[in-house]
């Protein structure tokens, strides 16, 4: 009790800091701070000023989304989500103990045999593997029931992005017929770019993630320009979005992809990320 009285006296003597007042304004200040305000006109005045300033930052009311919004979000992302594979088979839990033991023994035997056979295959096929990986398409990988890894042909994506950036850089803002193809290509690339960015984040590749983030910003502006992509918008993007720097970043990224993954025919370009 004596200790509390001593603290009260200290509170009466020391004025509240701005931090104390901010806490108090958001309902996290202590009782002692509130009591101090009652007895200190100076702090009460400062607190009222703080509350007034906070009122200036008005609550932002987000625009309403209709009932179909969630479904539109789902339709937009569903195509790029892999299917999870069930972790285990539940029927094992319902079988008698002796049968379960037998099942485990059989499974172990199959595993050992499978590992041996896989080892043999691995040795034989090791040299061919890069070519196989380079030729595999995302659809083929998913059909084979692999782990839920999003496979994207990064090399091809970067090639197309580079072409788009070059076209944007040299586009004549007065030429109306260029705008629609640029916008369509940007829309196509935007979805692939998003998947690449997620994969880069998963694999902790900040350089790739940052560059793709910059690219994302430009593609988004090209794809979703209010009122459509027109000459004025193209001129603005050329001036504001640092297309030269972005082009350089894309070329650096492309140079990181091993040669065997983007050599060969156009259809065989790219690697998996």
């Amino acid at each position: 009790m004596r200790q509390l009285n001593a603290m009260d006296k200290v509170n009466e003597m020391n004025h509240l800091s701005e931090e104390d007042m901010i806490l108090l304004a958001y309902g996290e200040g202590g009782d002692s701070a509130a009591r101090h305000l009652e007895s200190c006109p100076e702090c009460a005045g400062a607190y009222a000023a703080l509350k007034g300033d906070l009122k200036l930052v008005e609550q932002v009311e987000p625009p309403q989304r209709d009932e179909a919004y969630g479904e539109r979000v789902w339709l937009a992302i569903a195509g790029s989500l892999p299917v999870y594979r069930p972790a285990r088979r539940r029927w094992l839990g319902l079988t008698p103990v002796w049968l379960r033991g037998l099942s485990y023994a059989a499974a172990c035997a199959v595993l050992v045999a499978g590992a041996f056979y896989a080892g043999r295959l691995w040795e034989q096929g090791a040299k061919k593997q890069p070519a196989v990986a380079a030729n595999r398409t995302p659809q083929a990988a998913q059909k084979q029931g692999r782990q839920p890894i999003v496979v994207v042909v990064l090399g091809d994506h970067l090639d197309r992005s580079e072409r788009l950036l070059v076209e944007l850089k040299h586009a004549d803002p007065d030429s109306a017929e260029l705008a629609a193809p640029l916008r369509d290509e940007a829309r196509t690339l935007l979805a692939a770019n998003r998947i690449c960015r997620h994969k880069a984040a998963d694999e902790d590749d900040p350089e790739l993630g940052t560059a793709l983030g910059h690219l994302d910003r430009l593609l988004e502006q090209m794809a979703n320009q209010p009122g459509g992509l027109n000459g004025a918008a193209i001129a603005r993007l050329q001036n504001e979005m640092n297309t030269d720097g972005l082009l350089f970043e894309v070329r650096v990224l492309r140079s990181r992809i091993p040669a065997e993954q983007h050599a060969g025919s156009a259809n065989e370009k790219g690697g998996t990320i």
Binding site: E18, E19, I22, L23, Y26, E28, A49, L50, G52, D53, L54, K55, L56, V57, E58, Q59, V60, P62, P63, R65, Y69, G70, E71, V73, W74, A76, I77, A78, S80, L81, P82, V83, Y84, R85, P86, A87, P148, R194, H198, A201, D202, T210, G213, H214, D216, R217, E220, N224, N242
Partner: protein, 193 residues
């Protein structure tokens, strides 16, 4: 179209068992609330829409790490806040030099307002909104997110820390810094308020 009767945990179990479409029910159920916080942090609709999609995609890929004791809406909300933080970080990075120019207080000059409602007042209101936007733009991504969560979403310090992936004390400091900076930036409005 979606099994709305199922609760979130049933839907998650179904997704992990291979029923991808069950995730659609979660997306439908939580999109609007994620959009609200995403809009408040990013400040524009297009970015907020992107954040919502990114959050659900990121959430789907991390679904195996979701703990059944947790609340899905809290979990996905935190992911959305991180996505929004990433979004404004990348935006601020791109526009750093431009923001530096625009936030020069010397450039901003707010006229003293007249109490009558009329064209001048509407114009002034636009200037005030612009000044508020510039003030918010002067905050770091973390400060801006922490302030929005505190001021507009009424989240506690602990919740802000958890959402932003920082310690509660760091979240508290981020809110302090944000309020301090905003008060400095909004000083021209104070006389007119």
């Amino acid at each position: 179209m979606f099994r709305m009767g199922k609760d979130d945990h049933d839907a998650i179990r179904a997704v992990l068992a291979g029923d991808k479409d069950a995730y659609g029910a979660l997306v439908v159920r939580h999109s609007a609330s994620l959009f609200r916080v995403a809009f408040r942090i990013t400040g524009n609709e297009a970015d907020a829409d992107d954040v919502v999609q990114d959050a659900f995609m990121r959430g789907y890929r991390k679904l195996e790490s979701f703990e059944s004791r947790s609340n899905f809406s809290t979990w996905i909300y935190r992911i959305a806040v991180r996505c929004a933080l990433d979004k404004i970080e990348s935006r601020k990075g791109l526009a750093a030099s431009r923001v530096a120019d625009e936030t020069d207080l010397g450039v901003l000059d707010v006229q003293v307002m007249d109490e009558s409602a009329g064209p001048e007042r509407i114009l002034l209101s636009g200037e005030m909104t612009a000044l508020r936007q510039v003030a918010m733009g002067s905050l770091t991504a973390t400060e801006q997110s922490a302030f929005v969560l505190r001021h507009m979403e009424n989240r506690t310090t602990e919740e802000i820390g958890a959402a932003l992936g920082i310690q509660p004390n760091a979240a508290k400091q981020a809110v302090y810094r944000a309020v301090h900076k905003l008060r400095q930036r909004l000083a021209p409005l104070r006389a007119n308020a």
